[in-house]
């Protein structure tokens, strides 16, 4: 974002400025920090079982087939969201949409890089902060590192990914990001107490 040109009147060669939602927002409490993560490339990938191998090859990682799991490689993560559905997030600047475009096996790949916002919740109290509005069991036994789930936070839908023992990535739709961020901030405040 920082490197994006601040020009708003475009010519054929300049590009409009990218203005992500919540840019720069952070909230801290004892034992937990809530931060907005930088933009990433994302696709919603839908495919039947028979196409999984070809798509895995094109994406450079093995699409997970087990509920509540994810697979990660080289800055790219595929989250199992359903029997034929994955959320693929690329934080390395590569475009998974382009990678899938060449796959002839049956699938649907739709770009949603701008649809979602990612928020990181990190610290010993991260679990409690998220549990302020998310009914899932987030203990390491039930939700280990790499676990992923489409779930809720209060009245908003989120996709939750555990990235480390004490770190989570919360994905939500752009217009819900203010609500989700504020909710997590309140949850963090309570989790600290």
């Amino acid at each position: 974002m920082a490197k994006a040109a601040a020009k708003t009147v475009a010519t054929a060669t300049s590009s409009a400025e990218r203005r992500p939602a919540l840019a720069g927002r952070t909230a801290s409490a004892t034992g937990v920090k809530v931060e907005v993560l930088p933009p990433a490339e994302r696709i919603s990938l839908r495919a039947p079982e028979a196409s999984v191998a070809a798509l895995s090859k094109a994406l450079g990682l093995t699409l997970p087939k087990t509920p509540k799991t994810s697979a990660s490689k080289g800055g790219r993560t595929a989250l199992w969201l359903g029997p034929d559905e994955w959320l693929v997030i690329d934080e390395a600047g590569k475009n998974p949409l382009a990678d899938c475009a060449g796959v002839s096996a049956l699938h649907s790949s739709v770009g949603i890089s701008h649809r979602n916002i990612a928020i990181s919740v990190v610290g010993p109290a991260a679990e409690a902060a998220i549990n302020s509005g998310c009914p899932q069991d987030l203990s390491l036994e039930a939700f280990p590192v790499g676990a992923a789930s489409r779930t809720v936070l209060g009245k908003a839908e989120i996709v939750l990914l555990r990235t480390a023992d004490e770190a989570f990535r919360v994905e939500c739709w752009r217009s819900f990001s203010d609500y989700v961020f504020t909710f997590l901030s309140e949850g963090a405040r309570d989790a600290a107490g």
Binding site: T8, V9, A10, A12, T13, S14, S15, A16, E17, R18, R19, P20, A21, P39, S44, R46, P48, D84, L106, S108, S109, V110, G111, I112, S113, H114, R115, N116, A128, N131, S132, G133, C134, P135, Q136, D137, S139, A142, G154, K155, A156, W173, R174, S175, F176, D178, Y179, T182, F183, E186, G187, R189, D190, A192, G193
Partner: protein, 997 residues
Amino acid sequence: MSGALRIPGAGRLSQAKTARFSFDGQSYTGIEGDTLASALLANGVHLVGRSFKYHRPRGILSAGAEEPNALVQIVRDDARKTPNVRATVQELYDGLAANSQNRWPSLSFDVGAVNDLASPLFSAGFYYKTFMWPKAAWKSLYEPKIREAAGLGVSPERPDPDHYSSRYAHCDVLVLGGGAAGITAALAAAETGVRVILADEQAEFGGSLRFESGARIDGQDGFAWAQAAIARLSAMDNVRVLPRTTAFGYYAQNFVGLVERVSDHLKAPGHDLPRERLWQVRARRVVLASGAIERHMVFANNDRPGVMLAGAARTFLNHYGVAVGRNVGVYTANDSAYGAAIDLKKAGVNVAAIVDLRDNPSGPVVDEARALGIEINFGRAVIRAGGKLRVSSMTVQPKNGGGERTIAVDAILMSAGWTPSVHLFSQSRGKVAFNDETKRFVPGAYAQDCVSVGACNGTDGLSATVDEAYAAGAKAAKDAGAKAAKGVKPKVDASESWSRGMLGAAPGAGPDTTVKAFVDFQNDVTAKDIRQAVHEGMRSIEHVKRFTTNGMATDQGKTSNMHGLAIAAETLGKPIPEVGLTTFRAPYTPVTFGAIISHARGPLFDPTRKTAIHPWAAAQGAVFEDVGQWKRAWYFPKAGEDMHAAVDRECVGVRSQAGLFDASTLGKIEVVGPDAARFMELLYTNPWEKLEPGRCRYGIMLREDGFIYDDGVVGRLAPDRFHVTTTTGGAPRVMNHMEDYLQTEFPHLNVWLTSITEQWAVIAVQGPKSRDIIAPLVEGIDMSDEALPHMSVREGKICGVPTRLFRMSFTGERGFEVNVPADYGQAVWEALWAEGQKHGATAYGTEAMHVLRAEKGYIIVGQDTDGTVTPNDAGLDWAVGKKKTDFVGIRGLTRPDLVAKGRKQLVGLKTKDAKVVLEEGAQIVEDPKQAIPMKMIGHVTSSYWSQNCGRSIALALVAGGRDRMGDTLFVPMPDGVIEVEVTGMVFFDETGGRLNG
């Protein structure tokens, strides 16, 4: 000095830590660790409230959550006034201010007490009988007066400044209740390593060990053992210990709601601390250790301040070091009250007499009481309490009648026995069973993965309780997946034990009809009320309960239900189980709205959704309107403009030059797969197979019944890819509707749906100058009419970022909708705005959008349709594929009533007086001279002032409307009848030439 009745050396509180507090403006001193009740009693204050109906003076009955009498208002400041706080659970803090309730002008002289004298008027069911006539008086007189008279406490005038939080938690074993049973079960479970949560409503764990002076466990005093055990549990990583936490509701699949009172006991709660925290716990196994609640004796004037439960008096002495009187009487039907008499006597309080309803009790406690020189009267009853604002005597009589004797006392300690607390068990849908021998309901058949231990299970005695609880805790852990326990069961060295007692009215409770022997203190229900209910024909206990309101106060009959049931059963001449037990409902004790709502206040009440372009509109001074959860720019007033002026200017500006509109909230769904067109054919009335990639079509979606469900423009991006738009409000339900059909009706189709509503920001550029504004910013798209005709879509770049550029119009002007990835939305808007300024473009909001589309007769689903409108009704037959053999709703459309003549059809209306703007929703009639109620033939669905047309315009649903073109109809309004002419729906540019203008 922390009260004249504080006994040196008694109790567990540190006398050094005093706390000042006030009650009804009078200052007192208590001790840290006191409840408000114990602190008041220490100062000799028994009179703390007035009863609900009769305004009788009331004192403190209990020492716990079951308290029906001592309800006070706690006032921290203007915004923090909590009514109906039970003084027995409110912990004292320095500076606490409490007021009594339900009295005027003062607690000791209360005008409302006239109700007590007039009580024959207020007998059971009085409100069902008294206020029946005249009917009109109910709303205007009776209800407001009753509400005013009935209210307990005063609401705060300002919003609650505290915050509340919530937490979801999971555990293997959830233990509810932290007495000897709960602690033991928690220890047994925790030692296996499984995740345990232990909750208790009190500030300190221990339950009845607080008063049982005879209990010794593992070589320690029972209460000290409890504290040591809690310290051990708290130190374990797999255990969460929650004091001040009430389990209020037991729901399906071991889902339990608890409320933790986090800061109500603090003098100055830190800003970051919530007042309360709602816990929603899912447990593999639940151990119920909720104990038992002592019952009072039902005799005349048993509600006088100073008459209290024996176990409570013992708690006040043994835990708080407070004597509840200097000369007490004891009235009991079981052994447990002897402990109170013995402990008080040993502490130096005179025990005037023990009155025992039983004929010939014996045992260690009887012997000990006798050895202490306490007078014991067997086979006798206390038939009446004397005194008014404080009990002054008890009148004793042989239980089968005979001479009366009045004994002076300043407190009566009573015990009719103990009722197992099966509330949570019953809420779990477990069935209680009546034990005829011990006369109590105990858990019978279980419905969930839970187990009851200790007093709530009808288990008597500490040894038996610990044995049972330890085994149950270990088994719960094992059932939840634990390996093996490696702990040691606590060893009970000494304990107390009692059971039995009596249910229902004691001899002092009538049968005459003037005696007030209370069954339910909080709702002022007496023994005679229960009898009267039966005499008036109530047979089921549920009817008796509702007729008398027994057990219907906020204490939910914790002390009264069993007595009420027994009296009803006796009057009916039936055994208790045949009369039944009323249902236990959540919450166990009152729960604040704050806790239930927790985070969902202010900005978190509901998500507020804003578009990427919102900041620009806000900076321009736009006025926003709520559309579902979205904030949409409604209009953009310039200095001095009202809404009408702004909207008129915006509407004219779009048609004369151009306008920019933020359409980002439109629902968008990408439909992808080789069967995408087949799927579209099935979901929409229109044909799609032959729509060429790069072209768009206006689609209508029906429900199965043939009525319009949603509409929107759909662009085909590729043979296997459609970009579908929906209405703003319809976006989520259309997605669900499509997904539902795909998964259940058409699972054979290879097609997938992805919501892209938020992927794309959408900027509508409409008006004769629209192409001139867009063209300089676009790369890779030929903008000529030949290459990009109306209703087409192209992918390319704008301002250097990807775009899906639609040529389409919701204004009737040449128009475009520029889709760009959302993060670029504001920058592209600003670029288009800058370009637009060269061409006199205006920004317009949703109101102008509505007017402009109405000028063209374009409908809005949900405004011009209401779920009973077919495509034909809306004049949209052209959008239904005539050759199609299947789509959702095709059979519905052929239903006889949907093809019948005379259906309401969408038409235009022009008022005869062009200046008059109709009211949306106004009814339409053929003949305004009819008698009321007139026959209504339709209603106005959309109505606006159109500056472009120079007159008002309206759309309406009118029966047989299209056959009425040119007819005059009438819209009767409160201040006159408006004459209207039926017209076509297009008011502006009927030929549609401006689409290419």
